[in-house]
Amino acid sequence: MFTVDLLLSALVAGVLLGGFYAAVSLGLTVAFGQLNIVNIAHPAFVILGSYVAYMCNSRWGLDPILVGLAFTPVFFLIGVGAYRIYYESFERRDDEALRGLAFFFGVMFIIEVGLIMVYGVDFRTVQAPYIGQNFKIGAVGVPTRMLVPFCVSLVMFACVYLYMSRTFNGRAIMAVAQDRLALQLMAADPVRIKQLGFGIGIGTTALAGALLIIIIPIEPSIGRLYIGQVFAIAVLAGLGSIPGTLVAALVLGIAESLVATFFGPSWAPAVAFGILLLALAFRPQGLFGR
């Protein structure tokens, strides 16, 4: 079964989905790709962002995206705090690889359980005017529920990219994992820079969480489902490359959508991870890696 309309629809859906994946992965690209911190709790922070959006939306009817924006600084500070613990406990002891990983694993569980204790395990959703709307371009339907997160995601990318490439601190973050020496020559304190970078990484999860809950209903343990996806994207991107993350997310989104449309949706996740495995085996530096 193949028609041009179907192909176009699949591509559009894939691009929109990819845009959303990109938003969820952005913070990890910074933390994991650039700072070399294996924050496996990243999706859990995203879910935390979703619940903040849910709480403000259900209690005061606030727009989830605005809530996400408003809470970005709060999440930034949480990220800074988390990095301090991480640094003091692991990085300073030159002990981050295994134990750091285990640490974030534990953090993931604590966030998840904390959310269950507060909100229970029921599925939560948000209300917003753009949820449930859609329009058509030719025969291709474009749901605003997907389009709005897609656009927000692009803006997020643009902001982070500009910050990283145009400001002193941003460039320092990009440099910190590659070349500590150069960083010291720039007279920047690597710990402070990494702290800033990790803060930004976690900061993005406030908004990413808001986008997530716009797209699907959530419950606390749903974050686990995205661990594979976000790491796949970060690796596929070539660690630390922000444009690469966007492209990798789109590739994954489109691949899933095409497979779901033309082959059988139950193979979609295997395809995504199959791509990851192949990438790891044959091009571990990723699409945009050096």
Binding site: G100, A102, F105, G228, F231, A232, L280, A281
Partner: protein, 316 residues
């Protein structure tokens, strides 16, 4: 291999296990066999994980994948020929050893976290394959009707307990042997610095393949009796993330550089979980694992074994 106090103790525990399960030497409530089975299963998994993770520093997030492949190999054998458990265990082990070898071959050029992520991806790909494979029940799951009794153990679950006890002793013995052999020192060199290890003559790729194979084998044998224990298996329970979490948390809590670490970690955390399941019965159960894990990695990087060692060191 020299015979020492360890081997004597291991044999004694095995005999005691046999005495309890076969001859009902000491009256033991059935529940302890059920709970004990689960704890011992974690001893095998944690020990297997530690061969890669603790000795060599390669974190495997895919424990559940190996475990489930072990379990599903049993399902296949059962569907094919109603194979007995004694056949399921070595075949499951072999299949998972091959899987480990293959995975190692594909991914071991990857350092550190990339390897970890690859194992996670592998578990998901495997789960998708099983979900779409109707012969083993696909997403619907598969039943194995175990017999009620088996000679000479009587109750089938006592038999399963004994089998898992033997597997746990086997796994720990293998891990201990590796640790103390030239191979184990090679593993430690790889963990500390892979490039330096290679440049001092350690065949790193070969050793890594040995580790993935052995580790895979042990995870596979741990999964083999699972279907008989539960009687019913479906992908989401066989590929449960809990196995991955526990197999990481247990060695980390016990102490990842020695065979004793995963053993203590599994006995402790496994028992706490079994107790918590029937006492606390709430989210706290998960919180315990998460909290202990975070606490130990921050406060006691060498785990319980490290704490004891430090404490004894100070006493001297």
């Amino acid at each position: 291999m020299r015979i020492d106090a360890f081997h004597v103790t291991a044999l004694a525990i095995a005999l005691l296990g046999a005495a309890v399960t076969i001859f009902d030497l000491i009256p033991v409530n059935k529940f302890y066999f059920f709970a004990g089975y689960v704890v011992l299963q974690y001893v095998v998994l944690a020990t297997a994980w530690n061969i890669m993770g603790g000795y060599m520093g390669y974190v495997n997030f895919g424990t559940a994948g190996f475990f489930a492949v072990g379990a599903y190999t049993s399902v296949v054998l059962y569907n094919l020929m109603k194979a007995p458990l004694i056949l399921m265990i070595p075949v499951s082990g072999a299949v998972c050893a091959l899987l480990g070898l293959g995975m190692g071959y594909l991914t071991l050029r990857l350092r550190g976290v990339f390897f970890a992520i690859a194992t996670l991806a592998m578990a998901i790909v495997l789960e998708t394959l099983i979900v779409n494979w109707d012969y083993v029940g696909g997403a619907t799951g598969a039943y194995i009707l175990r017999s009620r009794e088996i000679a000479p153990f009587g109750d089938y679950v006592e038999f399963l307990f004994f089998v898992m006890l033997v597997l746990a002793i086997f796994a720990v013995t293998v891990a201990r042997w590796i640790e103390r052999s030239k191979m184990g020192r090679g593993f430690a060199a790889i963990r500390d610095d892979e490039v330096a290890a290679e440049c001092t003559g350690v065949p790193t790729l070969r050793l890594k393949l040995v580790a993935t194979t052995v580790s895979g084998f042990l995870m596979g044998v741990a999964g083999a009796p699972f279907v008989l224990y539960v009687g019913f298996v479906e992908p989401s329970s066989a590929f449960n993330l809990v196995y991955a979490v526990n197999s990481i948390a247990m060695p980390m809590i016990g102490g990842a550089t020695t065979w004793l670490g995963p053993l203590i970690g599994a006995l402790l955390l496994g028992t706490v979980q079994q107790v918590a399941t029937v006492t606390i019965s709430s989210e706290l159960n998960l919180l315990i694992v998460g909290g202990l894990l975070v606490f130990f990695v921050i406060a006691a990087p060498e785990g319980i074994v490290g704490l004891v060692r430090k404490w004894r060191g100070r006493g001297r």
